[in-house]
Amino acid sequence: SGRSFNFGAYHPLETIYSWMDTLVAQHPKLVTKQEIGRSYENRPMYVLKFSTGGNNRPAIWMDTGIHSREWVSQATGLWWANKMAADYGTDASLTSLLDTMDVYMLLLANPDGYAYTHSNDRMWRKTRSRNSGSVCRGVDPNRNWDAGFGGPGASRNPCSDSFHGPSAHSEIEVKNVVDLIQSHGNFKSFIAVHAYSQLLMYPHGYSCNDVLHQPELDSVGRAAVEKLTSLYGTRYKVGSICNIIYQASGGSIDWTYDIGIKYSFAFELRDTGRYGFILPANQIIPTASETWLALKHIMEHVRDHPY
């Protein structure tokens, strides 16, 4: 349309979906939009696939905003997607990355929840599915994965914000991602993006024991955060979910790590400790810019350490 998109603002779901079409139109040889399924309330779930060709290349996954109220996550994902498309062909490292690997981005991992935060309850975190026998709706989609499902750090109470749901992968939003990851079969990295409290985490959440690749994941995470901090001095903590935040079972990166995706990480983006999920819009681009440096470091490490 010729209208410029404001990345330094929060947008409703429809605007984000429409912007995806614009990005695809601007970079038709690099970016495609794929529907991976529908949400509980029948909204489409789209991934942006960045690919320069090849068949079933090794791939990197990232999703933003599985907890719908964490708005800076989705906003950061948009900026990252735009950055990746814009820098392909000019940034040598990113170009070599996209010449060898595909990148999948799910910018609205919980579309029903996101729409609900705009229309009804700004603090909504979960999905919007109905729970039989309860007046409370929704499942915490980051307690619903088949990794220590139903264990410590998840609630069996449908009214709780960390309700794990009736069974692993019961949430269609989770199942859609699980199906794509399994049918693809060649993901080498999985990065989940949350917001609040400035952390870069690796598995596990359901157990506090170190995973086999803990030393490598820790070292990659620390180097990534060093680059992040270099931009504005924002301080991040690095460690396993269980050790630096709290024990939480049924999380996405635990599932991906346990099925063999070694480079599984989760970000908790900036909040400044004053605004929670209401991070002022003027901090979106600084947040996206600083974390892009960490994300790029992780992606480069994945590219340079095939397994």
Binding site: A9, Y10, R122, D161, I245, Y246, G276, I278, A281
Partner: protein
């Protein structure tokens, strides 16, 4: 649309296991509808809780009675939400 008038967000810096247990008990009770943004798990980590307006005085009095230190990090959540909404409207108009 749900309103959060008078809701506060407090940060609790837990100093002992007893204080931690008190917060964990608060987390499991449903009556006050507390929204834990950072859950009580360790004396090393802060705990952030959104207190619905109706629960502000009960919770803060309880914490004070047990000597649990806390500070208010969001005084009125709805004010922040109103600012956010105004900013979104302004941005939408600017875009078009």
């Amino acid at each position: 649309e749900r309103l959060f008038n008078g809701d506060q967000v407090i940060r609790v810096n837990v100093q002992s296991e007893e204080q931690l247990q008190l917060l964990q008990a608060l987390e499991t009770q449903q009556e006050w509808e507390l929204d834990f943004w950072l859950r009580p798990v360790s004396t090393d980590l802060p705990v952030d809780i959104r207190l619905p307006r109706s629960a502000v005085s009960s919770v803060t009095e309880l914490l004070a009675a047990h000597g649990v230190p806390f500070s208010v990090i969001v005084d009125d959540l709805q004010e922040l939400l109103d600012q956010e909404k105004a900013e979104m409207l302004k941005n939408q108009m600017k875009e078009r």
